[in-house]
């Protein structure tokens, strides 16, 4: 499970690359193709978030295990301006830039775990994970 994929995000092609890698990893973890699509969409949102607000950063993808459940973990790190009001940023329909304003809250909806850690002037780290449904 030590596999870790670090993807630099500095241009919009990197967003495409990140979501494609995320989809591939989700497939390895055994997610259905519908869930793979969901994970890829969530990665796309947080990768674009890096690009829009911090200009550059990094996405780290890895497989995770919790007991007998398998999942995919996605961490987005940037050293950008940070989010002054996280609560507001997480409201559906709020966005200070273009887009349908569904960036972060959208990603949150799609994933099982979602955490934002942000310091103004220092940067933002978003950690999210999706678990395969236990039967």
């Amino acid at each position: 499970m030590g596999e870790e994929l670090r993807l630099p995000i500095a241009a919009d092609v990197d967003v495409v690359e990140a979501r494609q890698q995320g989809r591939a990893l989700a497939a390895v973890a055994g997610f259905s193709s519908g869930e793979q699509t969901v994970i890829a969409a969530a990665i796309s949102e947080i990768a674009r978030n890096i690009l829009m607000y911090a200009k550059k950063g990094e996405i780290i993808l890895s497989l995770v295990q919790n007991g007998d459940r398998q999942g995919v973990s996605v961490v987005a790190i940037d050293q950008g301006p940070g989010i002054p009001d996280i609560e507001r940023a997480m409201q559906y329909g709020y966005s200070t830039s273009h887009g349908v304003g569904a960036g972060l809250p959208g990603a949150k909806r799609l994933m099982d775990e979602f955490e934002v850690d942000s310091v103004v002037g220092r940067g933002t780290t978003i950690t999210m994970a999706k678990w395969r449904r236990a039967i």
Binding site: A11, D12, V13, V15, V16, R19, Q20, R23, S33, G34, Q36, T37, V38, A40, A41, S44, E45, R48, Y92, H98, G99, V100, G101, A102, G103, G106, R109, L110
Partner: protein, 132 residues
């Protein structure tokens, strides 16, 4: 990756071939809207069969294309949304309200034929058989 835009009769058909960046999407929107005006076409088909992920920017762009084309006198229909993509979209609440969506290119053409006929019927009620 540039999206080829074909003209067929009075319709423009943009057929997306692979994953698109935000810049590609914006470019597609501008190119389509410019061509709608230039060629005075009545319908636009955007074929998204090749997209295996649709995020907020892609959804936003498709909606913008539809609304802008309408202002320029053309109806738009999105064709080929993949089942998995559709499911992910609605989970996000992106239901593309106000945007016509059909299964594939064939359905898209039939849909536009119907729409443009209807418009003619509405604007010229005495000559229902004539077209655009």
């Amino acid at each position: 990756m540039e999206v080829p835009i074909l003209r067929q009769g009075q319709y423009l058909i943009a057929s997306i071939q692979s994953a698109l960046t935000d810049a590609d999407l914006s470019h597609l929107r501008e190119a389509l809207i410019a061509q709608v005006g230039r060629s005075r076409c009545r319908g636009v088909i955007v074929d998204v069969t090749a997209l295996d992920v649709m995020d907020s920017f892609a959804v936003r762009t498709l909606r913008d294309i539809t609304h802008m084309a309408r202002l320029r006198g053309a109806e738009t229909v999105i064709v080929g949304i993949q089942p998995d993509v559709a499911f992910a979209m609605v989970q996000l609440g992106w239901t593309l309200k106000g945007v016509a969506t059909v299964l594939d290119l064939e359905e898209g053409l039939a849909f536009l034929d119907g729409r443009t006929k209807e418009r003619v019927v509405e604007s010229k009620p005495k000559k229902p058989s004539s077209r655009g």
